[in-house]
């Protein structure tokens, strides 16, 4: 039992957070609760604190919209929050699509698809291209371009306000991740994750690798949805510094050797260790 808890503690916490937030949003629409109103594009906490999606606001800015102070403050709060706790914590702790892609990924592992499809034929930089493209199209057509096609918004809005054909978006993402590309949506395409990757570069909460404890079992790399961020496993003791890490904590819980732990990034230490590395 204790072992089970150890291996899934963050996963359980993440699901609780994701579903809890969804329920609060739904209660906002169906029962008029004011705890959390709106949706992931923009919300209001207790009718007082505004929150808004910095990427949506960025697109609106590119489209030439008049940005209200409310929206700007909301985007600033969200950006600051993820700047502190790790940008893509949004992806693994809040976004409902994470549950879909995690399910596809788990099935991939069960059926051992990765042994057949060894090489993933797409670049993880696609998301940054999509950010650029969305801003260009937003500017050219005067609307927030990604917001019109965002499957994330479709799913989240769908759950709160009525799904329509939004289930098709869920299904397509699931099948795409299952059969076409490992971590296809969240790890390659989604520009929201791309924006939070950029934000998360500077965040304080980091997974830290202790090489001395590592037995090179590579369980962490198998479960990691952004395995490129774990390049230091078994090589070097250091924090996971890439902004693409989603802080999901799966690597921490599957590690049997306490070689991976969450920690707060130490900014002061970094410059001192720099020259040392060069000598080696």
């Amino acid at each position: 039992m204790h072992r089970l808890y150890n291996t899934y503690r963050f996963l359980i916490l993440r699901r609780l957070t994701q579903i809890g937030l969804l329920l609060l949003y739904m209660a906002g629409n169906y029962w008029g609760w004011t705890v959390l109103m709106g949706n992931l594009s923009a919300s209001s906490v207790l009718g007082v604190i505004p929150l808004s999606d910095p990427y949506a606001v960025l697109q609106m800015f590119a489209a030439g919209a008049m940005l209200s102070s409310n929206i700007l403050i909301g985007a600033a709060i969200i950006t600051l929050f993820y700047l502190l706790i790790g940008g893509r914590a949004f992806c693994s702790w809040v976004c409902p699509v994470n549950m879909i892609t995690d399910a596809a990924n788990a099935l991939r592992r069960t059926f051992e698809f990765d042994k057949i499809q060894k090489k993933q034929p797409a670049s993880r930089h696609i998301r940054y291209w999509i950010i650029g493209l969305s801003l260009i199209i937003s500017a050219a057509f005067g609307v927030a371009a990604f917001e019109f096609i965002s499957p994330v918004a479709m799913v989240h809005r769908g759950i709160i306000f009525g799904i329509g054909f939004g289930w098709a978006a869920m299904l397509v993402i699931f099948l795409f991740d299952l059969f076409v590309l490992k971590n296809g949506w969240c790890g390659h395409i989604c520009p929201i994750g791309g924006v939070y990757s950029l934000v998360g570069r500077f965040s304080f909460v980091r997974v830290h690798h202790n090489e001395a404890h590592c037995t090179l079992c590579m369980k962490c790399k198998v479960v990691c949805p952004e395995s490129q961020v774990l390049h230091m496993i078994g090589k070097k003791s250091m924090p996971v510094l890439s902004g693409e890490c989603t802080n999901c904590g799966r690597c921490v819980e599957v590690c049997d050797d306490e070689a991976l732990e969450f920690s707060i990034r130490k900014f002061l230490e970094a410059p001192a260790s720099q020259p040392l590395e060069e000598k080696i």
Binding site: G38, F141, G142, F165
Partner: protein, 273 residues
Amino acid sequence: MSNRLPEKERQMRKQPVSDRRAFLLNAARAVGLAAMGGLVWSAYVDEVKASELLLRPPGALNEEAFLRTCIKCGMCVEACPYDTLMLAKPGDQKPLGTPYFIPRDIPCYMCTDIPCVPVCPTGALDVESVSSDDKLDINSADMGLAVIDHESCIAFWGIQCDACYRACPLLDVAITVEYEKNARTGKHAFLKPVVHADACTGCGLCEHACVTEKAAIFVLPREVAMGRAGTHYIRGWDQNDEQRLEGASSRTTTTEISKKSAVDSLNDTGDLY
């Protein structure tokens, strides 16, 4: 075989593809993919933007600015006590995620405190536009304009019906009933409803109340429902309109025919035959 090749040539054959070539090719491929994706994407966005038969919540900016400014959070939908407002779902064939209403199903009941507008975080629903004298005033809302189809409205057949007239929250202002002699019977009257565009808010209570199978009075976005005479027409009997003439400049068009006197140009019919 290859051993016999001169050293220089052998080196050239073995040489891996240069980094620069690989980089250029990759960059070109990325640009090509981006262009293809961008084409499909922008074509879709452009199509979606063009759907104009859509009624927005009270206080909405004009459609173009509204689409740009609305962040699709649905807080107006949550604020509406009558479930009038909906967010466009995939499959509704409307700009995704934006709020709208269908008055035949649920009209806008014109709450005096307009709960849907002040909650808008982006100002896509503008409090100013539904206020007069710094107070919220739902009667100044402009969601659309009711239009009557004279062919299917039974009041125009001579049957007495004033459902829309009675349902209108601006009773006897936005819709009035005009009397007219029914020449067919010779002894009855038509009681014809008339919508007044300057007062109609487009709430759709009339459309909701209409008794015909498909509503004979219905709300359209004002931009769709109305024509435009053009600024060069001036209502001389209207003092305000007449004032536009003050400071107006004239422009004379000169053509070949202008060189002749008016009488000459009339008599000279040579060009006609």
